[in-house]
Subunit: 154 residues, 2 copies
DNA sequence: GTTTATTGTTAGCCATGCGAACAAATATCC
DNA sequence: GGATATTTGTTCGCATGGCTAACAATAAAC
């Protein structure tokens, strides 16, 4: 006698995902959705920010005076996409568009004082979120995962 | 004497990503963008389909007669999102909404003959895309990556 | 038989992204 | 030096993909 029980008529019909479990993209997507949800719950409730905007802020903070076009290249999006992002961050007082001293076409993105403070606060939340999320993995596994993702992406 | 050369004025100023490289979400996103691009180039050009729609088709094919609400649960999206997806797939002749025999509210999603043929063709393209994409990894690494992603997502 | 829940649908909204077109400013090239 | 290209930020329109809220029809629960 096996451990499998007789299926009852009331059983939810077992769901099949077909080929999907064999595809990396399926698991990549699920992991990302899980991460987004976790971010929204742990960081988003306390700071009104998304992973995307946080990434932009990080790069702006790490490269003072960055022109919008450079940011676009770094984030691998179009220049026109950056306009909206900069509008948002500027409207919230986190960054400023400072006219470049050497090129009158370009705007240098700079964190404001408010922006610096907010970013420091958000970084704490993000690091806590990261620690919480990866608590399921050992440090070695975490590193392995990161490395494999990098190799996949390049 | 080290191997570092004297930075010239014409050098592109080295870009920093701040904290981002320490965050799993950053690498997850990059990997996904890379995968989407690869999918678009290898599958999308030959079949006019996206990873999302392909996933829906897979689940419909693997669960004949699935009601829209069940599909929504399986894909973890809202019922209303499925309406648009089903509209698209139906407009393209790949699936049909068959009225349920036992519940006059629900529509059972079924592949059409065309849909079956198309899906078979697309599956070939997707598997080739997958093989190509993961050629950078050994089979063991591929499996490790999948397992770690699953553990992260649950 | 009345109330509650589920199903599919519509409508409107938001976020993220792209592409095309544009004017201003800068580079390049004879 | 002056014509021609290129770069920069911007706007506008569009597409995708997702959400919520409301609704009518139907089914289930009490």
């Amino acid at each position: 006698m096996t451990a499998t029980r007789k299926p009852a008529a009331s059983d939810p019909p077992a769901m099949s995902y077909g080929l999907l479990p064999d595809l990396l993209g399926f698991h990549l997507r699920r992991a990302q959705v899980a991460l987004f949800r976790h971010f929204a719950h742990s960081v988003g409730t306390a700071a009104d920010i998304t992973p995307g905007l946080f990434g932009m802020l990080q790069v702006i903070a790490a490269n003072p005076g960055l022109a919008q076009s450079r940011l676009a290249e770094a984030m691998e999006v179009e220049r026109s996409t950056i306009v909206k992002v900069a509008d948002q961050l500027e409207a919230r007082g986190l960054i400023e568009r400072v006219p470049s001293a050497v090129d009158r076409r370009s705007h240098c993105l700079e964190l404001t004082e408010t922006g610096r403070g907010e970013l420091a606060r958000i970084e704490g939340l993000v690091l806590a979120h990261e620690a919480d999320l990866t608590a399921k993995l050992t440090p070695a596994e975490r590193q392995t995962l990161t490395r494999l993702l990098i190799r996949l992406a390049e």
